[in-house]
Amino acid sequence: MKALLVLLCLAGVASADPDPKRKVTVLEFRSGSSALQGMAQRVVTALSKQTSLQVLGPDQTRVLYGDQLDGTLVKCAGEADCVAKIGQKVGAQEVILVGVSELGDVILTMQRIDVGSKQVSARIADSLAENTTPTDAQVDAYLQKLLPPGDFKRFGVIEIVANLSGAAVTVGGEPRGVTPIQKLTLPAPATYDIRIEKQGFVTYRTKVELPPDGQLKVEAELSRRGETAWYQRWYVLAAAGVLVAGAAGTTIYFATRSDPSDFATITGVVQ
């Protein structure tokens, strides 16, 4: 990296807190340069990994917009007003325009264009020596300067269901109320210790790993102290379990069976 040429964040937009799950399309505009091939795709990959944004890559945008996308983009010549119309047509709230041009060095620019106001809300540019490709860490750094910090905070949801009301729920060491309790939206990825307790009942404890944009369901069945044999409590704990709905939206249902003799329990170990 020779020099960071321009770093401009327009305060008006930067101060707002945009939806961290908004739809963003990433487009690539080349001004007579064949350098840094696949740059837009790398931006898409980085955004998909580190944010909860709904990211449309250039190819997905082309599918939605039509084959004339590249021609339109060339005609826009980087003008925010024109590029915003592309974003509007594909239903995006923002366009990230990755520009590659050459002025001796390779100039890489990234503009964040707000589709609603048709204005550039942030812009970053870097000058790269010939045959230099930015590392993944550099791409991450560009994006962290381009996008609001809130975009890099990700969350998951934990739903806790217990068989009795009035049990105290502690998640990650913090009291969260008593059952029945609303779904908890918490930073992810992260591991949380969950404790559900009520006087006179065996305390339920588990540890869950919450994936970003995932949804965990913890079904806890608290047994009265001294009421059940140890192996029955073991069965209850195994069956209670923790459920995860992945980011892909898989529907998962895991019922606690009333008659255990009709079913086989699946457990596993990774070696």
Binding site: R62, D70, V244, T250, R257, P260, A264, G268, V270
Partner: protein, 502 residues
């Protein structure tokens, strides 16, 4: 005293056993990963267990890994099921896959099932050593591409989670998926010229399409027997069910046309009873077919000339429009096809990826990005003078669908011809006539069409009558980074994915 203690321990053991088994059954899955090295998956956060019941419905239970242990719910007793597992990282990326090849019937006993769980490695064959691609890594990772030593000029085909088969000449060598090292002794197939292979579902038998006909090989017993010496098959698929497997051989493959060539030729699909070699083969269909696939009783073929993928066994109705259909694959309950889209005035030709459920419902299609290749002028020291040549035709040569269809891998061939260009005023030739032939290995997301990684396997630029041109010498642009093929340029011939469809 010792006797008393022993009796107490024995009594306690009986009690624990009784409690542990109770009246319900247990299935303990042991997900066996490669013990070490780059092939061992890392960073897994969740495990998804997919249970498919006899009616074909699959329930997936996803749970976090607690240490290295997990619980995956319950299944009804006495009902046969099939099991698959997926390990994903905390970004929900698939990093390893495993499948129980045989049907399981849960009962009141304690069953322990070991499943080889592996990264969904992609294997690419060419005249060089077999290349591996690790889709769990970024393309820029130096370990994204790898090579299997000692496999020069071989064809590689996944057998199951434990082994891949590598055919070199008339020899079949198993390679362990855990370390990519030879496993067992090489088998003599007694024929050469293998062009395709298909696995007998649920078994460790492979059927090979070779220059000497169809050959069946049992990789466990080393038994090899010919199924049919002629006619010579180009592609092969195995359908049917245990005890009545049928081998479908495509004879006279009609490839999707390249350049300005027309779509010509004729082919047929023959059916052979796998375990009754004396039965006469049956003609399933005649046409212009580029590939054949089978699932159970259903047989599918792609016709690049009519742009159709159809079910050809007469059962069910499946007809999918896929212009230039050149390769098929079945993954799970879907049939996948790779075809082509022609160029436009401003863009090169493209690959299209279509899929449909095996019952003919839920057809989907995506187009990959338009294809072009940059040619540079050899004597421009500034490396600024270049031509961006769009693909006149871009055809799929082979297709693999990774488990869960998170990615597809396709081998493509681009052909382009450009007439010489002349100065308008002086009429002198500026750029010579040229032909470009480019082979790529493309890894793409079949849901969006986004290309995850492209490797330019080989680029050949042929200049015609260049000597009187002002700029006579041009070459394919040098590849950099992840687009550069490991081990040098070569023409890829087949692609397969561990636990995937092909």
């Amino acid at each position: 005293m010792r006797l008393v203690v022993r009796r107490l321990i024995a009594a306690a053991t009986v009690v624990i056993s009784a409690c542990g088994t109770d009246s319900t059954g247990t299935i303990q899955l042991v997900l066996s990963l490669p013990p070490q090295g780059d092939l061992r998956p890392t960073g897994m956060a969740t495990v998804a267990v997919g249970i498919t019941q006899a009616d074909g419905n699959e329930n997936v239970t996803t749970t976090p890994l607690d240490g290295m242990q997990f619980s995956a719910g319950e299944v009804p007793l006495d009902e046969p099921i099939q099991l698959r597992v997926e390990l994903r990282d905390n970004t929900n990326r698939l990093i390893a896959f495993g499948r129980v090849e045989q049907t399981i019937t849960p009962d009141r006993s304690d069953q322990k099932i070991t499943i080889p769980v592996r990264k969904p490695i992609i294997y690419v064959s060419s005249e060089r050593a077999v290349v591996t691609l690790d889709p769990t890594l970024d393309g820029f990772d130096p370990k994204f591409q790898g090579m299997i030593n000692g496999t020069t000029g071989s064809l590689a085909f996944p057998i199951d989670g434990s082994d891949i088969g590598v055919v070199n000449g008339g020899s079949l060598q198993r390679i362990a998926t855990a370390d990519h090292k030879p496993s067992g002794n090489a088998m003599d197939l007694q024929v050469t010229g293998a062009s395709d292979a298909a696995r007998v579902p649920g078994e460790r038998r492979m059927v090979f399409a070779t220059g000497g006909g169809l050959v069946v090989a049992n990789v466990d017993t080393n038994e090899v027997r010919p199924l049919a010496m002629s006619p010579k098959p180009d592609r092969v698929a195995v359908g049917g069910a245990t005890g009545s497997f049928t081998v479908y051989a495509l004879i006279g493959r009609v490839a999707p046309p390249t350049g300005t060539l027309p779509c010509t030729g004729s082919s047929m699909v023959l059916a052979y009873a796998l375990d009754n070699p004396n039965d006469m083969p049956m003609v399933v269909a005649n046409g212009q077919f580029s590939d054949v696939e089978a699932a159970g009783a259903a047989v599918f073929a792609s016709n690049p000339c009519t742009g159709k993928v159809t079910r050809i066994d007469g059962g069910g109705a499946l007809s999918l429009n896929v212009a230039g259909a050149g390769a098929l694959a079945i993954e799970g309950s879907r049939l996948w096809a790779a075809g082509s889209a022609p160029p436009t005035t401003a863009q090169g030709a493209r690959i299209r990826i279509a899929s449909v459920r095996l019952d003919g419902s839920d057809a989907q299609e995506v187009l990959l990005a338009p294809k072009a290749e940059v040619m540079t002028y050899d004597f421009d020291q500034a490396n600024e003078l270049s031509l961006n040549i769009h693909a006149d035709t871009l055809v799929p040569l082979d297709l693999a669908v990774l488990p869960g269809a998170q990615y597809i891998a396709v081998i493509t061939r681009m052909d382009s011809h450009r007439d010489a260009r002349f100065d308008t005023f002086s009429a002198s030739k500026v750029i010579p006539e040229m032909n470009a032939l480019v082979h790529d290995i493309v890894l793409a997301d079949p849901a969006s069409g986004a290309i995850s990684q492209r490797i330019r396997a080989k680029c050949v630029l042929t200049l015609i009558a260049k000597t009187n041109a002002e700029f006579p010498d041009w070459s394919c642009i040098e590849t950099t980074g992840a687009e550069t093929p490991i081990g040098g340029e070569s023409v890829p011939t087949t692609v397969g994915a561990l636990y995937g469809g092909r």
